[in-house]
């Protein structure tokens, strides 16, 4: 009973979200960035969000994280409304944004310190450093890290809080192809072990198909969810299987067509 309630509590509901930002040159003018976004993530679901640059993916994640508030609409975790940031929703930002004044170890344990639970849970810090393969860099400062290493630290820093919902904004974008594939498997392993609900923003269609239960494709200006595709492939998935490639072809065609359509709209 308790377990069920807990799982219920980690579902994510996004209802008719609209968000606009003031235009920098003209404060009276507002530009609509997200126009009526609606979807839900069942507890433990891994869903990808793809779409062209500037369509509002990061903005959507910031709204769910509670860093921004929507103009209208509702955001729900389980049955609770999101009004402010909280540790139960982790966000890995597009840039690693490590605290430069803290070592790798202290960056990773920042969430434990912030929540005042370091004493009880400090043994996990080592686990998470091992997870992202950085235990030998524990005492290094961020300016000594490569871009990929920094992004791994950022991932570990978000994971250590055991969020119910993990929001990932192109977390693997800065990694090389090999590390990237290894990290994809690591994220999947974590997701399966914890049944964390995950929303993954990516530019990489292969990554979206490889990782997610569903793929949501966004259109730009204003951002809408154009299409949702279920990925009904067995896990672990083969990147070169015919079904994988067929799905990839479909998505590419759709994205390409949508791109052309939006260019035509402009003219």
């Amino acid at each position: 009973m308790v377990a069920l309630a807990e799982i219920e509590a980690s579902s994510l509901g996004v209802r008719q979200i609209r968000k606009s930002f003031p235009v920098p040159d003209d404060p009276l003018l507002h530009r609509l960035v997200l126009d009526g976004i609606s979807f839900s993530l069942a507890a433990g679901e891994l869903v990808s969000l793809i779409g062209p640059s500037g369509c509002g993916k990061s903005t959507l994640l910031r709204l769910i994280a509670g860093l921004e508030s929507p103009d209208s609409g509702e955001l729900l975790i389980g049955s609770e409304k999101i009004t402010q940031p909280g540790a139960e929703r982790g966000l890995v930002f597009q840039d690693p944004n490590l605290f430069p004044w803290l070592t790798v170890r202290h960056n990773i344990q920042a969430g434990l310190v912030a929540r005042g639970v370091l004493r009880e849970t400090h043994h996990e810090v080592g686990d998470f450093m091992r997870l992202v393969g950085l235990e030998s860099f524990a005492d290094a400062y961020p300016h000594h890290l490569s871009g990929g290493m920094a992004q791994r630290v950022a991932l570990a820093r978000a994971l250590i809080n055991h969020p119910k919902v993990l929001l990932l904004d192109e977390p693997l974008g800065a990694l090389d192809a090999f590390t990237r594939m290894r990290m994809q498997d690591e994220v999947l392993r974590l997701w399966q072990a914890r049944r964390t609900t995950m929303l993954l923003v990516t530019h990489d269609i292969d990554e979206a198909i490889y990782m997610s239960d569903r793929i949501m494709i966004m259109s730009p200006r204003p951002g809408r969810i154009e299409r949702t595709i279920s990925v009904a492939l067995d896990r672990p998935r083969q990147r070169s299987s015919p079904d994988f490639l067929r799905l990839r072809g479909d998505i590419l065609e759709f994205v390409h067509f949508a791109g052309n359509a939006s260019i035509e709209n402009k003219d």
Binding site: R62, A65, G66, L67, Q84, P85, G86, A87, R89, G90, L91, F93, D95, N97, F99, P100, W101, L102, A110, G111, V113, A114, R115, Y141, P142, H143, R157, A158, N161
Partner: protein, 354 residues
Amino acid sequence: MLQEETSRRSKISPPESGVQLASAPTYPKPGAVQRMERRSELGWRAQLAVPLAALVALAIHLLFSKSAPAVETHSYALFFYEIVGVSAVLAIAQRFWMPLRSWMRHMCPIFTAAILSLGLWDIVTFGFRLLPMPYFPGPAAVLRSLISDRALLLDSTWHSLALLLSGYSVGVLVGLISGICIGWSTPIRYWGMPLLKVVGPIPATAWIPLAMVISPSAVVSAAGLIALAVWFPVTMLTASGISNTRASYLDVARTLGAGRAYLIFRVAIPAAVPNIFIGLFMGLGASFLTLVVAESVGVKSGLGWYVSWAQGWAEYGKVYAALIIMAAFFSTIMTLLFKVRDRMLVWQKGVIKW
């Protein structure tokens, strides 16, 4: 150069011996090691430059002081003998201690130049009396004042140090608190910033007439003025550092579950530390100025007071002696602050350039 040598060397030897290379001069393998040894030796010219300069300066002095009584030149000559002696000791010590050697190589030209300019000073003042006399004594006379009046100078330094530290620490403490409040809270910024902008730029020394009327004792008012002089730059730079904290750091902390205390003390303040140090340095400069001025007009102790007192008696040797002490005193404090900063900003290594 040295690194290049090391890496080339380590290719043909097991890695653990590569580590020894820098510290163990008796490493048995010939070739590269010996070549390095020779290059890192301190040349004869570098070893002799300082004692030679000292002997030259001494010769200059003795040349001009034939007519003067021996007591006049005794301590000055002794000073140069000491330099020669210390150089000899260091020349031996550097053979066994690598860091000393590189320090000596680095400092040799500057010491030589400093000693030679003592000689030049001697020629211009003591030798040919090219400058009006009571105002420009020679180095020997200054050294004599330094030695003969050392008790009073030490006492004055001590008083200056106490006054400076009390004023500076109060100013820094208040400045940090007000800077953090102004930087963090919008309402406090609204009311505090105009006050800061109007009152802050007034030089602290301009308050001296008022401070003397208000305060019960000159020392207390001087400490207050020093605190005021420090408070302004520390507040200004702390506030700007805090309010310019990158929003993304605050966002990250919020998503990690941080409350307000974490955001202020673990994000905004660390992010502002580079700025805060700029404020601390500016405040230190302002505090030196205020200290000396306050001591020469109101406070009856300290180096500033000593300078104006000696000037009153036209004892310019003492004036210069006090200036030398002041230079050493202030630059030591400045160096200490630099050391503290380098420690606290290790995470910024490679970024700071001042």
